[in-house]
């Protein structure tokens, strides 16, 4: 039942991307970021930003946007696991007059991890069977809060930096769930110059 819910919601999110054209084609951006639990659990995230709804407030020139941001993150937790996260993310982003950016997002992510060691499974005879690329899949509902700076506004560079904290819940994990956190720091680059 839960699995069906995630599959359907993932497909719906994908449909949103395919059906709705971007309000401004030039506003599509690519994100490249450091991603990891800490500096010692390091990784890389790449995401594509596709605006769904964009509105600029005339009074203070602030721009409010709802974005669909599918992304892929890979990180290494040494001697523990290598994690791969596929995140179809929906984000709300506000860019201020001076270029300050604030965003919150939700994602129904899928998490696949590979155990960082030789894995032996007990077989029916009580011996061991080597399991190659052992690991498991899990769902990873995620809430993210971040901030950043759009450098195109004051420095005339078509680039932005951002940082954010991801709170993720891995389910299942053993007999229940596991809270994970991830820090993400990177740049946003428009796919076409504005």
């Amino acid at each position: 039942m839960k699995r069906s819910f995630y599959v359907i919601s993932g497909l719906l999110a994908l449909a949103v991307l395919l059906i709705l054209p971007a309000p401004e084609a030039t506003a599509q951006q690519l994100r490249v970021a450091y991603f990891g639990e800490t500096v010692t659990h390091y990784g890389l995230k790449v995401a594509y930003e596709h605006p769904l709804i964009s509105r600029t407030i005339t009074r203070n020139s602030a721009r409010k946007e709802f974005l669909f941001t599918p992304g892929l993150a890979v990180y290494n937790h040494p001697d523990n696991h290598v994690g791969v996260i596929v995140s179809p993310e929906l984000a709300y982003q506000r860019s201020g007059r001076r270029g300050g950016v604030f965003e919150v997002s939700l994602s129904n992510s899928y998490f696949r991890y590979f155990l960082a060691g030789q894995t032996f499974e007990v077989d029916e005879t009580g011996g061991f069977r080597r399991v190659r690329m052992a690991g498991r899949g899990a769902y990873l509902p995620t809430v993210s809060v971040g901030f950043g700076q759009d450098l195109s506004i004051r420095k005339n560079r078509s680039l932005a930096w951002y940082a954010r904290l991801n709170l993720m819940q891995q389910r299942p994990y053993n007999a229940s769930t596991l809270m994970r956190f991830g820090i993400e720091c990177g740049i946003r680059k428009p796919l076409k110059n504005k």
Binding site: T38, N76, L115, E121, N174
Partner: protein, 331 residues
């Protein structure tokens, strides 16, 4: 996306194999045992030249092994140490049914861990260093079938062989300390709540445990050790928040399973060398349990090492001496 695959596979492959080191003198390996839904890590570190390996059985249940490497690392200069995270403990993962949290299952897991280590490290003598719940697990393992023949010795650190005897001795400790500290409230509570074999199934042992802690039965916390915390967060392979997800899985264990644990009738069958290491000031598992254990081990001659300044975790409070006593035992 397709162009990303080679890079992704490269990163996975590099991560999985880059840090593994295993030769005739040193080992630095990460193994996983997959059994009944659990993926349990076994980190093996240290010196192989002596062909001796200590398997650390952590406490809890639900605690972690590798997190205590901070205190046990000194052993690795002379011997190898295997840090095993039990099911629903430490960094173990998978999809595990809480019904498997039984002594029989923990004992079976231990059997396969030892068997796997013997296969991976042939001609190596394996010793158990068990702490707290790990001692219960060790007695379960050693007194099942001929399992004791698989290992060369046991060091039992502040752990019991019987829940009933543990509660009897902890109650005695609480009563004694309450009187010494003139805490009449606790004294009256303990006097009003005797423990017998008949009321073991319903005895509110967490209430007794709480009062033991109130009387400073174990004031030492690993989280007060800043170096430990930094190491745990940044330099160990532990899953940072996993420790907070485990306790709720042990509700049934704490309410029912623990009450039925008693291996006292089987300790007389133990023939391998045993050492009993005890923090003298411990209120969690008082030293009298160590003395009872020694009296039950009639077919071996256990040595008794007392750590005068320690509570429940002597390897934290008297680290250097603990390491040297372990090395003395395995030599």
């Amino acid at each position: 996306m397709k162009t990303l695959y080679p890079y992704l596979l490269f990163l996975v492959a590099v991560s999985l194999f880059s840090c593994e080191k295993d030769d005739a003198t040193t080992t630095d390996r990460t193994l996983y045992l997959r059994h009944k839904g659990a993926d349990m890590p076994i980190w093996v570190r240290g010196n192989r030249t002596a062909n001796k390996l200590v398997l650390f059985l952590h406490g809890g249940p639900g605690d972690c092994a590798m997190c205590y490497r901070h205190y046990l690392k000194g052993l690795e200069n002379d011997i190898a140490v295997a840090y095993w995270d039990q099911r629903i403990a430490g960094s173990s993962s998978g999809k595990v049914d809480v019904k498997t949290l039984t002594y029989e299952q923990f004992g079976e897991d231990a059997y396969y861990v030892v068997k796997l280590l013997k296969e991976q490290y042939p001609n190596t003598r394996i010793y158990l260093v068990a702490h707290s719940f790990g001692v219960e697990l060790a007695w379960q393992f050693l007194t099942t079938n001929d399992n004791q023949k698989l290992v060369s010795g046991l060091i039992a650190v502040n752990g019991t062989f019987s829940t009933y005897r543990w509660l009897v001795q902890m109650r005695e400790w609480v009563l004694r300390e309450a009187r010494q500290q003139k805490n009449t409230e606790i004294e009256k509570y303990v006097e009003a709540h005797p423990i017998t074999a008949e009321n073991l199934g319903t005895y509110e042992w967490p209430e007794l445990y709480k009062r033991m802690l109130d009387l400073n039965g174990n004031p030492v916390s690993i989280y007060d050790d800043k170096k430990f915390v930094l190491n745990y967060l940044f330099a160990s392979p532990n899953t940072a928040l996993a420790q907070f997800s485990h306790p709720k899985a042990y509700t049934e264990y704490g309410e029912t399973t623990i009450r039925g644990y008693d291996r006292s009738a089987f300790l007389k069958n133990i023939q391998i060398p045993v050492a009993l290491f005890w923090g003298k000031k411990d209120g969690v598992v008082p030293i009298e349990i160590g003395q009872e254990t020694r009296d039950l081990l009639t077919k071996t001659a256990p040595s008794f090492v007392t750590f005068e300044q320690s509570y429940h975790e002597p390897f934290m409070t008297e680290t250097d001496r603990f390491v040297s006593e372990v090395l003395k035992f395995v030599r």
